[in-house]
C-alpha cells in the first residue's frame, strides 16, 4: 500500500512539474527556431525535428536600424526601476506597517484598519483610472519619460503591497519582543532596528518579491508614461511584434524577461520556506 502511495505521490509531482516546466521548454525550443520551423507544423527536438538557429536571440541585441530591438537598455532600465521602486516601497512600507501594527491612531472615525485600507485601496482602482492623474502630475513635474518619474509611480503602486504584507507580518510578531528589547535597555528606535527589523527579514523578502513581480511585469504604466527617452522591458518586447509575429524572438525575450525573477526566487527561497520567528514565542 505504501508503495502505491509513494508512486502516486511521485507521479503527481512529476506531472505538476511538467505542467509548470512545459511552457518554458516550449519557449526555449521556439527561441531557436526560424520562420519555417515555426510555421511548418509542430516540431519539438532541435537537430532532429528542426535545425536550431540563434536568429531569435540575435534580434534582441541588434539595433532597430539593423532590424532588431536592442533590449539591453530597456532591460537595465527595468532592473533599475523595479529595484529602486521595490527598495523604497519596502523601506517606507515596513516603517508604515510597523507604526500601524504597534501604535493606535485615531482621527475622528479613522482608525488603524482604515489607514491600512487606504493603502490597499490604491490597488483596488483599475490602472486606467490612475493613468491620467499620473500623466498630468508627471507632466507638471517634468518627469514624464524619465526613470525617476517611473520610480515614483511604481512606489505609489507597490507600497500598498508592502504595507499590506508587512502589517500582517508585524501583527504576528509578539509585541512582547519589542517590550523585552525596551526592558533590556533599547529605546524605541533601537528596539526596532536591533530586534524587530532583523526578525522581519522573511516578511520583507516576501513583500520585496511581490513588489518586484508586480513592478517587473507592469506594461500599462511603462507604456503610458514613456515615449522615446526611456523604455522598459515589457514595452520593448511588445515592440518586437510586426506584421509577421516573430515567435522565435518573442520566446527568447520572454525567457530573458523571466530570468531575473527566477534568480531572485531561488535566492530568497530559504526565507520563504521557513519563518525566522519560531523561537521568539513558543
Amino acid at each position: 500500500m505504501r508503495i502505491f502511495y509513494v508512486t502516486l505521490k511521485y507521479t503527481a509531482v512529476t506531472l505538476w512539474s511538467m505542467f509548470i516546466i512545459a511552457p518554458f521548454l516550449w519557449a526555449l525550443s521556439t527561441s531557436f527556431k526560424d520562420f519555417n520551423s515555426v510555421t511548418g507544423g509542430a516540431t519539438y527536438i532541435p537537430w532532429v525535428d528542426f535545425e536550431p538557429t540563434l536568429e531569435g536571440w540575435r534580434v534582441l541585441l541588434r539595433s532597430p536600424a539593423q532590424g532588431g530591438v536592442n533590449i539591453v537598455e530597456p532591460y537595465l532600465n527595468s532592473i533599475f526601476v523595479t529595484c529602486m521602486a521595490s527598495f523604497v516601497s519596502i523601506v517606507l512600507g515596513t516603517l508604515a506597517a510597523y507604526a500601524l501594527s504597534r501604535f493606535t491612531f485615531k482621527a475622528g472615525f479613522i482608525k488603524n484598519d482604515d489607514i491600512t485600507f487606504f493603502f490597499i485601496s490604491q490597488r483596488i482602482m483599475p490602472p486606467v483610472v490612475l493613468a491620467i492623474p499620473f500623466f498630468i502630475m508627471l507632466g507638471k513635474l517634468g518627469l514624464l519619460d524619465t526613470l525617476l518619474g517611473l520610480v515614483m509611480v511604481y512606489v505609489v503602486l507597490l507600497m500598498p503591497i508592502a504595507v499590506w504584507i508587512m502589517v500582517d507580518f508585524f501583527n504576528k510578531v509578539p509585541i512582547e519582543i519589542d517590550e523585552t528589547a525596551l526592558i533590556d535597555g533599547c529605546n524605541p528606535y533601537q528596539a526596532f532596528f536591533k530586534v524587530v527589523l532583523p526578525n522581519s527579514i522573511p516578511g520583507m523578502v516576501v513583500a520585496g518579491l511581490f513588489c518586484m513581480i508586480f513592478g517587473w511585469t507592469d506594461f500599462f504604466f511603462a507604456f503610458i508614461l514613456t515615449f522615446t527617452e526611456v523604455q522598459l522591458l515589457p514595452v520593448a518586447i511588445v515592440s518586437l511584434n510586426s506584421s509577421i509575429t516573430p515567435w522565435w524572438s518573442l520566446s527568447a525575450a520572454a525567457l530573458v524577461s523571466v530570468a531575473p525573477l527566477v534568480v531572485v526566487a531561488f535566492i530568497v527561497e530559504r526565507y520563504l520556506s521557513k519563518g525566522n520567528l519560531s523561537g521568539a514565542l513558543k
Binding site: 509578539p174 512582547e176 519582543i177 517590550e179 523585552t180 528589547a181 525596551l182 526592558i183 533590556d184 535597555g185 533599547c186 529605546n187 533601537q190 530586534v195 532583523p198 526578525n199 525566522n276 520567528l277 519560531s278 523561537g279 521568539a280 514565542l281 513558543k282
Partner: protein, 359 residues
Amino acid sequence: MTLAASNLTIERKDEFYLNNISFEMSPGKIYTIIGRTLSGKTTLLKTIAGLISQDSGKLTFNGNDFDIIPVWKRQVAMVYQQFINYPHLNVFENIAFPLKQRKLGKEEINDRVKQAIEQVGLVGFEGRKIQALSGGQQQRVALARSLVKNANILLLDEPLVNLDYKLREQLREEFKKIFSSKASEEAILIYTTTDPVEAMQLGGEVIVMDEGKILQQGSAKEIYENPITTKVAEITNDPAMNLFKGEIKGKKIKLNSKIELSLPKHFKDLTDGHYTFGIRASGITLAKSGFPFQIELAEISGSETFLHLGQGQVHVVGLLDAVKNFDIGETVSVIFDIEKLYAFGSDGILMSSPYSGTK
C-alpha cells in the same frame, strides 16, 4: 530601597485593569502575586516595568518618582509566560544583549554571561540558536537574560505556565534556589501565578489580586490559614475551597434538611444566623457513618482521587487519599472534618477560621 505604589489605577472603556492598587515592597523578598486570568497581574508588572502608564496614582522607587523614568532606563528585568527571546541571536548573544546595551566591556560581559549560563544550567548551549532549544531551555535563556542585568526589580510573569508538568516541577525547584540567592542580593522579586500550589511553595509574601484589586497581602501561611474573604479562599486553593450557605442554630450547623454538623470549638463565639461555610477538599472525605452524597465526577490525580459530590443544593469537592474508580450517580457516605471549617459573613468576610478562631 523600596518600591511603593499608591492608588495605581488604570481604566479602559469603563473597565478597571488596576483599581486603587497600593503596596510597599522591600528587597530580599519574593512577592508572589496570585490571581485568576485577567485579574490585573500582568498589567501591574507592565506598569512597574514602565511599559504601561497608569491613569492615576504614583509609583516610587527609593522615594523617587518612578513614573518619569523611561522603561529602558529603569533597573528592571522581566520574564514573560511566553518564552520571549531574540530569535536572530544565539543563546550567548541573547543573554549578553542587555549588557551590550549598557556598553559594558567585553570581558565583563563574558564573565557575567558565563555566570548566568551556569546559574540556569545551560553550559554547553552557548552557541545554539534559540529555535534549537526546548521550551524549558528557552525559558532558562529568558531567565538568564533577566538575571545577568543584576536589576533592582525582577518581574516574573507566570514563567512556568507554558511548561509541561514535570518540567514545571523541576524548574520551580531550581527557580526557587535562584530566587533565594537573588533575593539575598537585595533585589525585589515579583512573581505572578494562577497556581495556588506554586504561590504557597515559593513562600515569601503573597498578594492576592482579583479584578484589578489587591484583596489580601500577607505571608503564604497567613493567607492559607486566614483567607479574609470567600474570593481569596477560592483563588488561593486548588481545588477552590468548597463554599456553601448554611445556618448556625442552637449548637448545630444546618446546611440543608439532611445535613447537620456539630458546631466546632472555633465557632463557639459565632451567633446564630446565616453564614457561608468553607472547607478545603482535604476536609471532606468518605467514611461509613456519613451523609449520603451522589458522585458527580471522580478525578484521579496522582495517588489521590478528587470527588465531586452533590446532595440537593450542596455541591462539594472531597478528597480520597487513594485511587479508586466510581460510577457517576453512585451514592457514597461523606464526612466533613468540622475542625477545618471556615465561616464567612453574608458579605463574604471571614468570621471564623480553624487557625485563629472567631474574629
